[in-house]
Homo-oligomer: 366 residues x 2
């Protein structure tokens, strides 16, 4: 299917992507301002299904890297979202046919629409995670063996680089170093792939999922319902078979946060409210990684742990979570690809230094 | 003029380049081993004069970056000296017609011959410094406004990047960060330029100069003469009008050395020997930058200050200089381009944090 992206859906997408960001990926609402402006100037791009892309098409992912706060400021500079795509096209001697989100959580879910609008190519209804994660190895693209290189990166002055490393982790390391030199916020074009590769690796219909989640939240607010309940219904309607359930409601009694190796790492505790008893504890590394109630694990990566403010219904990022805040905790099952053997090596508890063995969220919450 | 580079000249070139390296640029004698091996496999390249290059030719400089000790080890890995040139050719969609040394001092004076041999293109008899210096802004290419970008860099595994920054200092900063991620020794191809640009910017006949210096030293040793005196004659014969004079002979009484911002920075003192009286002091930042006798300045960058071991006649690098060592200090006037207003901003005393105003070496030693 191929339909025009509706500019009225920008905030809806941002809201849904905020939930699927599971606490990381930056706050997409500021990115929404930049996207709305871009669409008003260059018009909306097409949104197309993964399976409607030609096998021979040339597709790339686009993403922002860097300190989220710097990224949000610079995203508003509208001249560089497409520069990396152009740089990569020049290097490979080929024009891009479509862009696909690297991740559907957070700011990076909006960037492809800016690029699609600017360079007049469709955006794929899918991504490489079905959520947000901090590193490239945690994408289905990488899990299924696609090289991230050649990878183009650029800052708002047009300075940039093309990185070409056999190993994706090395490519990521190099591009992070470049990013620091270029002002801590760069847009990148990476994972150049064929339409055939896209079909083999992408998580499908995740833009639609984010839009459904965002729409359900907005409608629930208007109707005076709890957004968390509306999200559960929306997810199950959009991706049948997905596990979706409120796991806990609590008041934040403790948050411990530190920056380690460029990651926002920490843990926190909740005291039960609204009918939930006991104490819950959670961990995060950019995104929420683990959730347990009274010492019993109820969700762990790569499954999704989403925190929503009980008052506003908004998703709560790991950076902004604070003492006394009241939250609903929503658990969602992840894309099946992340549960494969290779997926769990890349995205499972061990990849985040957690001691647990992975147990699917539906088994933890029968 | 166009003549075949004589493989028998490898050690001669290394010796002369060691002198013109003015204490920095790494010890070219280990590089000579790698070059000799390369020439025995792929044959020697042509050596051509700057003015014999067609205006429309496509020329690049090649250089090793990184910790000298790592660089020397990896230079022996013979598969990557040309990879960066190939990467740049691919990016620019054009084949290189000739390579030109970035600097004629140290290891980087030999690398172009490895590349020339391997990819079968001539080496230019000239360079961008007429000596060695630690950073790209101190090349005549940069002084006369050529962009170092796009710049290709690669390690011995073929991993690498293309860097494209409007400002050369930014391009250098980015490529240094990449180098650290790629194992602290990379070969780079940079300053892609036309033959016309080459003629406008290069310091001419510096490969010939290094060969003359090396030859004079070797002949002097055989004849039982002091190499320092033979160098003076060779330089004046090769580049008429060049100032060349032994400034001092002394025994090292003090060396202070520290690594600051990736540079080998320090100072030292000499007590006069062999008819020289008084005390001399010198400073260095990778290369020797300043020389004074009894508090009176006798040479300062960008003029060349070369230290030679009195026993062996070999050039003495800033890294290996040690207490008790006896040295001849030779002063040479630099290429006129480095004495231009822009040249002195880039390479003069102020660029190295020295308090002195630049005074040409021939005025300091009338």
């Amino acid at each position: 299917m191929r339909r025009m992206f509706d500019p009225a859906d920008v905030e809806t997408l941002a809201l849904g992507a905020g939930v699927l960001g599971t606490g990381g990926g930056g706050d997409p609402r500021v990115g929404a301002l930049a996207l709305r402006r871009e669409l008003s100037v260059n018009g909306p791009p097409w949104l197309i299904d993964v399976d409607d892309v030609a096998d021979s098409a040339f597709v790339v992912t686009v993403a922002m890297g860097g300190a989220p706060i710097v990224g949000l400021e610079k995203l508003l500079s509208d001249t560089f979202a497409d520069v990396s795509v152009r740089r990569l096209e020049r290097y490979l001697g080929r024009s891009v046919d479509a862009v696909v989100p690297l991740e559907i959580g957070g700011v990076n879910s909006l960037l492809p629409f800016m690029v699609g609008s600017r360079i007049k190519v469709p955006v794929i209804d899918g991504d490489g995670m079905g959520r947000a994660f901090p590193t490239l190895d945690k994408t289905t693209f990488s899990i299924f063996g696609l090289p991230a290189s050649p990878l183009a990166t650029s800052n708002e002055h047009g300075d940039g680089a093309i990185v070409e490393c056999a190993a994706n982790d090395r490519a990521e390391q190099v591009s992070r170093s470049i990013l620091v030199d270029l002002g801590a916020a760069c847009s990148s074009a990476l994972f150049p792939m064929s339409g055939q590769d896209l079909k083999r690796t992408a998580v499908r219909r995740t833009v639609s999922l984010a839009l459904s989640v965002g729409r359900a939240m907005r409608d629930a607010r208007r109707a005076g319902r709890r957004p968390v309940d509306a999200i559960v219904e929306a997810v199950q309607a959009c991706v049948p078979g997905t596990f979706a359930k409120p796991l806990f409601s609590g008041k934040v009694t403790d948050v411990e946060r530190r920056i380690t190796g460029g990651f926002n790492v920490g843990r926190g505790r909740l005291a039960g409210i609204e009918g939930f008893r006991g104490d819950a504890e959670f961990s995060f590394q950019n995104e929420y990684t683990r959730f347990a109630v009274d010492g019993r694990l109820t969700a762990v990566v790569p499954d999704l742990i989403c925190l929503l403010d009980t008052a506003t219904g908004d998703p709560v990022t790991c950076e902004t979570l604070r003492y006394g805040q009241r939250v609903h905790v929503l658990g969602l099952s992840c894309a099946p690809a992340l549960r494969s053997a290779k997926g769990l090596i890349a995205c499972g508890p061990g990849a985040f230094g957690l001691p647990e063995r992975y147990v699917p969220i539906e088994e933890l919450n029968p």
